[in-house]
Structures are given as structure tokens and as C-alpha cells.
Symmetry: C2
Subunit: 204 residues, 2 copies
Amino acid sequence: MTTNKDTNTEQAILEAAKIVFVKKGMEGARMQEIADEAGINKAMLHYYYRSKDKLFEAVFTETFSKLVPNLIEIVKTDISLFDKIRIFVGNYIDIINENPLIPAFIIHELNRNPDRVVELIKSSGINPIFFINQVEKEIIEDIIEPVNPLHLMVNMLAMCVFPFVARPILEGVIFNEDREQYEIFIQERKKEVCDFIINSIKKK
Amino acid sequence: MTTNKDTNTEQAILEAAKIVFVKKGMEGARMQEIADEAGINKAMLHYYYRSKDKLFEAVFTETFSKLVPNLIEIVKTDISLFDKIRIFVGNYIDIINENPLIPAFIIHELNRNPDRVVELIKSSGINPIFFINQVEKEIIEDIIEPVNPLHLMVNMLAMCVFPFVARPILEGVIFNEDREQYEIFIQERKKEVCDFIINSIKKK
DNA sequence: TATTGGTTTAACTATTTGGTTAAACCAAGT
DNA sequence: ACTTGGTTTAACCAAATAGTTAAACCAATA
């Protein structure tokens, strides 16, 4: 009947909604602002996505899934723990660096609707057991020092995510609003965090 | 003129507002909900604090200052880096554990109003230079391995804060909603994080 | 007891905001 | 050219919500 201009508009809405929702969270975002961002009328949002809730749901699911698949692959790959940590940390930091507001977005939603987020994670294929098993295996094989695998994993994730969540603080308090320096810092971290972890668990 | 019942009410409002704001953020919170929580009329909120903004400001400043002074003392104390890390991590985790929603609250506000938060931090007396200097000193004195002090500091903060921000994920995905296990995990971390850090930077 | 002045309440207002609707628009098919 | 059916718009509605106001309340005190 007509061209699939609908796909364009629908996608444009999603992109705009992503920008606004990720920045302001569900409650902070205004439908009007999303419409403006997409350069369309407010009624279009409802035409394509029924309600604010539905639109948010679409944005959240899409945003979340951007973070996951790559990392699942890495964790399942059959390589040494040290290599795995290097690749995981490097990729994770790179991915977040491309969408640096995502962590705060997920944290906000995690507070607002913990069950949904947990459910999403569970059904995403993320399973910490792979990583934990490998750590335990390499401890037994005397490749690394004894270490609690769960704490190790949480430490790794923490060090990757935190600098993005705390970006305004780092940029404002440490780097005197110099974005360049902050970006260098983030790039450094890919090596720095790995060295820090491996240094801590390697056999002496 | 009258008793200082006003102080009671004013304080009651602040407590109630803290609970609601910390949990739901500025936009998610409703004045009516705060009034209900305080067991008073909605108009009282405006009588004592003029506007939602002003009330939020009061809550945020108070909440933030709960986090800071203790830690500033520790950082300035003249003890070895290892001792300092042990005390800092232990105290920081304990303090947050008493108000576990504060980190997410600050993160949310950090996104909404970065400048205000950065200003507040700057004027709070927090100064990373003390910590950084000590790290550099102990490197020169050959007490610890060479390490980038800034990354070290960020790593430490990250590992302390992250488990609270990600609590629903840990509890839901790792501990199968068993709050007890999560609490044990947090307690373990006070030792685990310190060992992890010190292990990484100590001379071999 | 009557006055005073801060405190509290209930009812009200103005505005914001998510959502609806009916009509206009436009590209494709006949 | 005209019909058709999805797309887009402007105007509108209803609910939610921050904020206001005027009157009632109450404890101290003269």
C-alpha cells in the first residue's frame, strides 16, 4: 500500500527515545522531548508504541542487549584465564565507552524495577558459572593464587564500569573538566585494570 | 511564642524526604508520598521547604555529607598505605552498608545535575592528592610496586561501591534472592578487596 | 481570659503531562 | 482521476501533581 517509511519513523523514534531515556531515566523523560528529538509529533509516539511504558520497554531491551552478546562469547571461549581477562576487560570498556551513559541507565532501572532487570539478565544467557569454574580450575592447577572467584568477578566488573558512572566526578574533580584527559584515562584503564588484576592473582 | 515542635516536624519531613528521594530520585518522588511518609499534610512540605527543589537540595546535601567526613579523616591520617587501604575500605563499605541506596542516589543526581555534585565534592574537602602523594612516596621508597596512583584509587572506590549499586543483580542472579548470602558477601568483601589490592601492589 | 503568632489543615488553582481523536495527508494501485 | 489505507498532524481531554491560600488550631503570655 505504501512505502515502508513507517520503519524509518519507528526507528527514528526508538533512537530518539534511547537518547532521552538513557540520559534522564523513565520518570525524567518527557514524551514531548522524545518527539522533539525525533523531529516528529507527539502523537506518533503513541501511534507506534502505544504508551510511554511500552516505548521505554523497547528502549531498555534494545539497549541492554547491546551490552551482552559480545561478552557472553568471550566468557565461554576456551582460552587461559589471563587472556580471557585481558580480552573481556578490553572489550567491555570499549563497548561501554561507545555508549557511556548505559551503566547509569541500567542502574536507575535496576532501582525502579529490579525484578524485570534480573529477569532480563537471567534470560540473556549470562551465566557467571563459566567464569567461576575456570577460576577454580586454574587455582587447582596451580596457575593462579587461591582467590574467591566471585569476588574476583565482581572486582573486574566494578573496575570496568565505575569510571563511566563516575565520569562527571573524575572529569570535574580530577581532570578539571578536560575531556581529553578523561578519555586518555579510560584508554589507559584497559591495560591498567588487567595488569592490576593479573598482578594480584598470578603465582609468585 | 511556641515550643520548638517546628524542629520536630522539619526533621520528620527531612527524614521522610530522604527515604523517598533516595529510593526514587528527584523525578520519581511525589510530594504526596513524602507527606504520607512523614505523616503530615502536603502543604507542610511547602511551608517548611518552599518547593520540591529546595527540599531535594536539603536532602541531597545532608545525605552526601553523611558519606564524607569520616573518610576524609582516614585519608589524611599518617599511617602506612596498606593500613590506610584496610581502614578506608572497611569503613567505606560499612558506611554504605548502613545506607545502601545512597550510591545509586548520588549517581542519579550526578547525571541530572553534574555541576552541582562536582561543586559539592570540591567544597567538601575531599582531595585525592593526599592519597596519590602517599602512593607515589611509597613507590619511591620501594615499599610497593610501581602503580598508577589514580587508577589505584579509582579501582579501590569502584570495588567498594559497585556491589551496592548492583545489589539486585547479585542477589537475584548469584544468590537466588537470598539476602543473608548477599550480606555475608558484603562482609567478606571488607577483607577480600583489601587482600586483592595489597596483593597486587606489594613488593614480591 | 484574650491576644498573639507560629503551626497545621482542607480545599483550591495552575500547570504539566500522558494519552486520544478526528481530520488532513500522501503514495500506490485501479 | 479517484479510491484506499497506512501515516501524520493539530487540537483536545483527563489525570496527576506542584504549589497556594485562607481559615482553624494551639501554646505561650500579658
